[in-house]
Subunit: 302 residues, 2 copies
Amino acid sequence: MSILVVGSVFFDSLETPYGRAERTLGGAATYFSVAASFFAPVRMVATVGEDFPQEEVDFLTSHKIDLTGLEVRPGKTGSWKGRYHDDMNQRDTLDLDLGVFSDFQPRLAAAHTGAQFVFLANIDPKLQESVLDQLSAPGVVGCDTMNHWITGSRADLERLLGRVGLLVINDEEARLLSGESNIVRAARKLLSMGPKRILIKRGEYGVIQFSADSVFAVPAFPLEEVFDPTGAGDTFAGGLMGEIARSGELSEASLRRAIVYGSVMASFVVEDFGLGRLRGLTHDEIEKRYRQFVSLTDISGS
Amino acid sequence: MSILVVGSVFFDSLETPYGRAERTLGGAATYFSVAASFFAPVRMVATVGEDFPQEEVDFLTSHKIDLTGLEVRPGKTGSWKGRYHDDMNQRDTLDLDLGVFSDFQPRLAAAHTGAQFVFLANIDPKLQESVLDQLSAPGVVGCDTMNHWITGSRADLERLLGRVGLLVINDEEARLLSGESNIVRAARKLLSMGPKRILIKRGEYGVIQFSADSVFAVPAFPLEEVFDPTGAGDTFAGGLMGEIARSGELSEASLRRAIVYGSVMASFVVEDFGLGRLRGLTHDEIEKRYRQFVSLTDISGS
């Protein structure tokens, strides 16, 4: 089954303790789409300016990402400039130019309104909901959000949460949205807001998933070097939703496998700047690291 | 097989966001011994003052802990008073009186010098090494340490590390001892200092184990309430070493199972003040939570 993602396409200028990258392709929808494309066909809904280079269109197309929903509009593609601290959980935004993203209004092509597997990357919850309104019969819907919307657009966000199945957020956001500092109580509260499953990203400590009747935790893959954490969360979501779409169903077993594939993809993307590591990634590398995850977490040690 | 532990027996006065406890039985050797006693016979080597109550002797004896090595000396049992912050990873020491522990010199009874399974809880590395000197043919030796010895007695500690098989420390200590902030590089460096296996405790994020050819990570059990984190690390070590002694061997499979049992015991001890939760704990409860850990971490979701 194919998967529809709505979100941002940006150019990122990054500085980490390991080096820098200028105007590298980024944005939540981009990381998500490239990661998901290893698992299922992807349809990307986003907007870029007239400055968006043909070579990046070609790159995305080479991953069989359907760009029917990529609207090219007069103006500039959004851009972000950031610098990570030595503790790469901390970063400063040095510059942000939303460009044509500032008045993004996602409009689905007729061919996309029947999408079954949908991910609403981090944008204004009103826009996320407008996408749901355009879908005829969405099956599995996941969404992300961020502090900005949790504090500034809570009513919109709460309305949205009543309509999504999977909420994928980080631990800080989970605490802020729930008002609970304990992560178990936070997840219970978030479940009561609508989503059937809460996936909490814990950075170097991995991911923990809660539903009404299950808890599943997986560590992050232990890496000797993290070059650039940008996009790790979106890449996780891409591997996750990609594998769910590939399996064609959302069961406890498919979800757990999907969480591991998401973790695998996130563990690759941080090994180089921007999308660098994903550009040459092979299915063999993905399967090998999946098996390493199994070994990393297998209590039986067999 | 039985297990020998050397360390401290203290009285703790604790204050956490959930309440307080006055002069409750504590100390690394105590937490370790009680936890380990659910898995294997324990021989405790420690010292207490003449004020040590008979009821606590009876309690330890009821857990079949051999107190031949518990030296009662003129003076007071050590005591510690601490207060946890709202973030219970932080705590302040309000008062510390080492009592008879200040000149503790562990001397093994003849019957103990043949011990195969040994844990050197957190004390001066010179004393830890003096215990090794008294053992005729130790098999599996684990040790803990802390920032105080890492910065103040590094040469002694490094000599000790050349003689132990398992180093059990927390992530902050691993970084300090190795000089590496990345946990994988930290573990590689620590392996090069002698121990065959490095077990790094990550608090609410669980435990990660490194050997030359394996990595194993297990999350902490997700709890809605943590009443008192005191002794969680020592309780983990007790469950760990207890299960290794019970299995009678140190293989990859027995170690992984032991890490989970250690995590199970730690998840119980934080549910009440001091040793409270362990006092009435049953084997059925331990086995039930072990199965919950299997379910929590099972990628297959079966």
